[in-house]
Amino acid sequence: MSQTRMIAGKEIKVNDEGYLTDYNQWDKQVAETLANEARIELTPKHWQVLEWLQEQQRKEVALNIRKVGASGVVDIKEFYSLFPVGPLKTATKIAGIPKPASCI
């Protein structure tokens, strides 16, 4: 189900929903491009959130909105103002990590 698409001048592997399937291909230009597509301009606060999300992914923590709210980086309200439409889905896509599986 993996395919590739051109992002920031590079051929990047993505899934059907446009999430990166190989985190090693992620870099800041990729993030900028994906953010642009979501009509978001990345500020230092955005980058802090993205880095926090990536760190959770490395630690294999299953992500949800509540955890973001308790991150100490942003509260949920701020998270929504940074990534207004479907914040967790948008932010994880820009961060180059998988869409959080709402397991169960």
């Binding site: 909105i65 949920i76 397991c103 169960i104």
Partner: protein
């Protein structure tokens, strides 16, 4: 082996099944088994779905806890104060100290309406209801009996919740209930979920989205609730989106028992971090967790606890003998989904396989059909109440239903 002290916390579905399994496997001189719960009643929780619609009567879904605890297991009815893992004992509120060699945590999950501002307001159980408690389901029944229509909103606060299909079933049964009362045209039903579709797994979501549309139930997805405004009767999400209601049926945030938090054993929702294959606690080798109390990525459902109990029994026997644990639990869940008008769907899935179409329990034969509406599935759901009281709690193996999910008969 020398006499071991096994302590089970919680005499709900999971704890009661474990007490029965272990007493069956271990002789009185091999192990002393104690089970603690502060309540006196055992509730058949799947019945909470039917109570609001007058399908079950209250007395059908309540029995005394004692009825299901086997002889040879000591039942103590008292609130648990704290688990002391360093010295391996549990302190009860009445100052009784219970030392253990093996601790089984089966304290379940509860609703936490206090998590959302405005939920537990003076409108609680007046225009805002839960149906995850006996009191909530009963007061909702009384409300529905006299309600003359308007906007019904069925809502999930956040995942994970017990029985993740129950709110959908509630919406389906509501559609059928109002049709029978010849007032469906007076009721607008909206299903509001934090998920991106009707359910958590893609194929089932497709089937269920379709059913919602068929029944003229609107769906509002990706709704992360921030607060309820009980005066204006709207729910508001973090993005500022509002959904108005006249009658709100919500599934509040679910959390593990406060005991887990008090004892420093839980995650941010008071669930105990647990190995998802062995059911051993991550932090303590002699603590095991089953049912809704754990953080494993399986459904919080009685069927899951049932399958877990069969594997956990074996693992506890192995642990007592100093043998390696079996890493065998596969996340197996098996759930009937009431779809209204005397029909139901059946889903059967695990950690790796999502629910798909097929036949159950006999490959190619059925008689139950997976992910398809049928009357037979509905009969299965109703028959389950008898199975629960008479077989499941007592740890009797249910014929033809295997502990691990079977791949045969499913169209992957």
């Amino acid at each position: 082996m020398s006499m071991k002290r096994i302590l089970i916390l919680g005499a709900g579905t999971a704890g009661t099944m474990m007490a029965n399994h272990l007493r069956h496997e271990l002789k009185n001189e091999e192990a002393e088994i104690t089970i603690v719960d502060e309540r006196h009643k055992h509730y058949y929780q799947p019945g909470y779905l039917f109570l609001p619609f007058d399908i079950y009567k209250p007395e059908e879904i309540v029995k005394e806890i004692e009825e299901f605890i086997p002889t040879g297991v000591k039942l103590i009815k008292c609130r648990i104060n704290k688990i002391h893992t360093d010295e391996q004992y549990v302190m009860l509120d009445n100052k009784i100290r219970l030392d253990y060699d093996v601790l089984i945590i089966a304290t379940g999950a509860r609703i936490a309406p206090e998590e959302i501002p405005g939920m537990q307001s003076e409108e609680w159980h007046k225009s805002i209801f839960d149906f995850y408690t006996f009191e909530g389901a009963l007061s909702l029944r009384n409300k529905l009996r006299e309600w003359d229509g308007g906007r019904l909103v069925v809502h999930i606060t956040e995942m994970p919740i017990k029985c993740p299909v129950a709110p959908l079933e509630f919406a389906f049964l509501a559609d059928s209930y109002f049709k029978q009362k010849h007032m469906r045209d007076k009721v607008e039903i909206t299903y509001v979920t934090p998920l991106s579709g009707a359910f958590t797994k893609p194929k089932a979501t497709e089937a269920l989205d379709h059913l919602l549309a068929d029944k003229n139930i609107h769906i509002e997805t990706d709704f992360a609730i921030e607060r309820i405004d009980p005066e204006r009767k709207v729910i508001v999400d973090y993005g500022g989106k509002e959904v108005p209601y006249d009658l709100l049926v919500t599934v509040p945030t679910n959390k593990g028992d406060d005991l887990i938090g008090r004892s420093g054993l839980g995650d941010e929702l008071n669930y105990v971090p647990t190995n998802k294959a062995t059911l051993q606690s991550v932090a303590h080798k002699n603590i095991f967790v089953l049912g809704d109390a754990s953080n494993i990525p399986a459904s919080k459902a009685g069927s899951v606890a049932h399958f877990e109990a069969e594997i956990l029994t074996e693992n506890i026997l192995r642990f007592l003998k100093g043998e390696e644990l079996k890493a065998e639990f596969d996340g197996h869940a098996n759930c009937f989904i009431e779809t209204g008008n005397g029909k139901a769907l059946l889903i059967d899935f695990n950690y790796t396989h999502e629910p798909v179409e097929g036949t159950f329990p006999f490959a190619g034969i059925g008689p139950l059909r997976l992910l398809k509406e049928s009357r037979m599935n509905h009969m299965g759901k109703l028959a389950f109440k008898w199975i629960y009281w008479n077989m499941l709690l007592k740890g009797t193996h249910i014929p033809f239903v295997s502990t691990n999910m079977q791949e045969a008969g499913k169209n992957f």
